[in-house]
């Protein structure tokens, strides 16, 4: 079979694998029985869900690729972004790290259904030769990551070409970026297989829980990476560059061995011979080893794809239940536990649980450089954390997926759904006040009353979450753009609710220059919002 024909045919299993990963988890469905009554839309559920999932698949792939290109380009623009030092070595290192992280995390989401081999089940029944079938599945696998990988390699190579004009540097960058992509795809496939294996095996092992926590932490680390990325021009580039340029220091020796710094040292050495010779030698030797490793990783990937297409990819034995006992809780706890389980087990929504990490990082980054913990900074930090927490209700609602059809048959009203998701959202925000409390122990405060600000905002988060979910239940968007616009509208309304008490604080303080009065006004505004939210819940 010709490669072009295999590529064309591979669009079928590719679409199927992407659809499977999206339809169940992220397809925005019509909430009919819980929300406003739209009788005429009752029958559109399935069709709408399928169409939306396919639209999201195309949209997601494009958006993620563009975002990846932007993120991997940021380190190269440290000078124009305000850094006093331009460091090619650190820029390449950071760019490779960012690309690696995004490729792994995005690929894990789509490859999870690829390794399940359900996508190839239909094609397997066709009279295709084994090799042709493997080639089609390989192309389908490549389609999952093509935009991201090609986009990041091209942008990294072009940026190095633009900045250095050195053919040797360009060629070596091409090799390093390709190696980076091979590593990322192999790691993503390994993770996907691990998750799928774990999924098949089932059981109530502690290992499953630890693995899920690890995955969430991975997302958290990535999100933290985004936070750090904003600091690239100001903090990271200068520090990293100084470390890399350090003559024969222990740190530059270790960085020379460590990927991706070794790759960056090798590329930049073709342009600037500023790194110590010994470090360059160590980095070059390390790169040879990494290239061999990349070759092995690439071969493993090809074999894994082939095994998947042959249906011999993953063999596990299910764990047998020792008993059939179940534990009942009160209805609200039961719903909260269910929400937590389904959202944390879904790669597409699990990362929202990492929002506390991002919140904490955001708050810390905003405040750590200040000598004094000023009330204005607390206001900004709490609002930023609050905005991030407001993504949680949308994630929890999306995670319900098609399983919601079952919940509709249970004696569950919208009130329970709203309260459950509001409780989780509010709990997600908890690290912000705790971080502020920790920082307050280390720094001086302009007013101790400032520590009450995050407590008042916690009430606002709960109120905003209620309204956000209520708006979600009452809406049915046509098309992806419509859904996106509606999501933004809901977020804007929710953000406004979080900001009202802050504005109340600011206005009162400016008028009276009295912290106590300002905090009291803020608290009253937050309590009024909560009272309104409770009233809304009762109306359901």
């Amino acid at each position: 079979m010709k490669l072009s024909e295999a590529w064309r045919l591979s669009s079928v299993p590719y679409k199927e694998s992407v659809y499977q990963s999206l339809a169940e988890e992220r397809g925005r469905m019509w909430w009919g029985a819980f929300g406003k009554s739209h009788i005429e839309k009752d029958t559109r559920n399935d069709l709408e869900l399928t169409q939306r999932a396919l639209r999201i698949a195309r949209f997601d792939k494009m958006v993620v690729a563009v975002f990846n290109v932007i993120a991997c380009s940021i380190p190269f623009f440290s000078l124009s972004l305000g850094s006093s030092i331009f460091g090619l070595t650190s820029a390449i290192s950071l760019s490779l790290v960012v690309t690696f992280g995004f490729t792994v995390l995005y690929s894990v989401q789509t490859l999870s259904s690829f390794v399940g081999a359900k996508s190839s089940a239909l094609m397997a029944t066709l009279p295709l030769a084994k090799d042709d079938f493997s080639l089609i599945m390989l192309c389908s696998f490549v389609r999952s990551v093509d935009f991201m990988v090609v986009g990041s390699i091209l942008s990294q190579v072009l940026l190095v070409a633009f900045l250095t004009m050195s053919p040797l540097a360009i060629l070596s960058m091409l090799a390093m970026a390709t190696m980076n992509a091979v590593f990322a795809v192999a790691v993503a496939l390994w993770f996907s297989r691990l998750f799928y294996k774990n999924l098949l095996r089932g059981g109530r092992s502690k290992f499953n829980t630890v693995l899920r926590l690890f995955f969430i932490l991975m997302w958290g680390t990535l999100l933290m990476g985004i936070g750090f990325l904003f600091s690239v021009p100001w903090y990271i580039v200068p520090h990293l560059e100084i470390m890399l340029l350090g003559l024969n220091t222990i740190s530059s020796f270790f960085l020379g061995i460590l990927y991706p710094f070794s790759a960056a040292i090798v590329v930049s050495n073709f342009v600037y011979q500023s790194v110590a010779f010994s470090t360059v030698m160590i980095a070059s030797l390390a790169i040879v080893a990494y290239l061999v490793l990349a070759g092995l990783a690439g071969r493993w990937t090809l074999q894994a794809v082939k095994r998947t297409s042959e249906g011999t990819g993953i063999n596990v034995s299910r764990s047998t239940a020792k008993d059939f006992s179940i534990k009942t809780r009160n209805p609200m706890s039961g719903y909260v536990i269910k929400d937590l389980k389904i959202a944390s087990r879904n790669p597409a929504t699990a990362f929202f649980f990492a929002l506390p990490v991002l919140e904490t990082v955001t708050v810390s980054l905003l405040i750590t450089n200040m000598q004094m913990l000023r009330t204005s900074m607390i206001l900004v930090a709490t609002a930023t954390g609050g905005v991030l927490a407001l993504f949680m209700p949308l994630a929890l609602l999306s995670a319900e997926g098609t399983g919601l059809e079952y919940t509709k048959t249970l004696p569950v009203n919208a009130r329970r759904i709203i309260v459950s998701k509001t409780l989780i959202t509010t709990a997600t925000y908890a690290p912000v006040p705790l971080t502020l409390l920790g920082l307050a122990l280390m720094k001086q405060l302009t007013s101790p009353l400032g520590l009450l600000i995050p407590c008042a905002i916690t009430l606002s988060i709960a109120s905003a979450s209620v309204l956000e979910i209520k708006l979600f239940l009452n809406s049915a968007a046509d098309g992806r753009i419509g859904a996106l616009v509606q999501d933004i509208q809901k977020l804007v309304v929710a953000v406004a609710i979080v900001l009202i008490p802050e504005v109340a604080y600011g206005a009162t303080y400016l008028a009276s220059l009295n912290h106590l009065l300002a905090v009291m006004t803020m608290s009253l505004a937050a309590i009024a919002e909560l009272a309104l939210a409770v009233h809304l819940i009762r109306k359901f």
Binding site: E24, A33, S37, I39, E40, D42, T43, L199, L200, R201, G202, G203, R204, R318, S319, T320, A321, D323, F324, S325, I326, K327, T328, R329, N330, P331, S333, G334, Y335, I337, K338, K341, I342, R345, N346, G401, T402, G403, E405, Y406, T407, K408, T409, L410, P411, V412, N413, R416
Partner: protein, 281 residues
């Protein structure tokens, strides 16, 4: 196992529609229209305690729509329904507390294991832990679920998912069972268990409304059958009553069904055309 806990059934009646007994399900003038299709037209239903009412009809006849309206999952465009005296549109929670529902294709929370799923459903339904554990243990054991009890539902076969739906449908012991193609994907042993559960349920005074394509099943377990065609119930009664309506007392339910839905001649024509097409090739 005590079925129908909390149900106020005054008398156990099987195979009748005595007007002096309060029906568990009652519908009148039920209609449902979608954008360009009239799915249901003027449906009247009375299902009494102890009855197994089978809704038979070709694909798209309106069986699932009828069951969904009764379950409170869909609103009718006209007419009304009462389920144990409650209107599903006005009191959906009351109705959902009193029904056990199995959907045409089991849509469950795929990332949960059957254990997690049962814990969720039992918690939401406020079922006593001891009671539910007894039922779950017996049914899970009967359905040979040990190997799948802690596996995510996404990894289960259709039959196994159906078993999960069946267990969840029974463990709150509802007075009414709404079963939409309940035997989909079930093996012979499990089908038998479900039939026995249905039988036990009606012996305890519960009512069952179920739709099926399997005529043999309907023939054996239904006390009354309604044949639905193009959104209307065109015939209703016991098997014998339907047989006499179609003009033959020794016919199978399948023949009666095909006669009443005017599909007998159509099937013969289609078979003839297919035979011609295959013979040409």
């Amino acid at each position: 196992m005590c079925v129908c806990a909390g149900m106020e059934v005054t008398r156990k009646v099987q195979g009748t529609s005595d007007s002096s007994i309060t029906p568990l399900i009652e519908a009148s003038g039920l209609a449902k229209g979608f954008a360009q299709v009239q799915a249901l037209k003027d449906i009247d239903l009375r299902i009494m305690p102890g009855e197994v009412y089978g809704l038979l009809g070709p694909n798209g006849a309106g069986k699932t729509t009828t069951i969904k309206i009764i379950a409170g999952l869909m609103e009718p465009t006209a007419g009304w329904v009462k389920v144990v005296g409650f209107n599903p549109v006005e009191d959906p929670i009351e109705v959902k507390s009193r029904i056990g529902y199995i959907a045409e294709s089991p849509i469950l929370y795929e990332s949960l294991s059957p254990r997690d799923f049962f814990e969720f459903v039992a918690s939401v339904r406020r079922i006593d832990q001891k009671a539910v554990n007894q039922i779950v243990t017996r049914l899970a054991d009967a359905f040979d679920m040990a190997q799948y009890f802690d596996s995510p539902i996404a990894t289960l076969s259709m039959g196994m998912k159906q078993k999960v739906a069946v267990i969840a449908c029974f463990f709150h012991q509802p007075p009414i069972l709404l079963l939409d193609e309940p035997f989909n994907g079930l093996d012979a042993k499990s089908t038998r268990i479900v039939k026995d559960l249905v039988s036990l349920h009606t012996q305890q005074g519960g009512a069952v409304l179920f739709s099926t394509h399997i005529m043999e099943v309907a023939e054996h377990i239904c006390t009354r059958i309604g044949i639905i065609h193009e959104g209307s119930i065109i015939a209703e009664g016991t098997l014998d009553q339907l047989k006499s309506k179609s003009g033959g007392r020794t016919e199978s339910l399948e023949t009666v069904f095909l006669k009443l839905t005017n599909e007998e001649t159509e099937i013969a024509d289609t078979a003839k055309r297919l035979q011609e097409a295959f013979l040409k090739n």
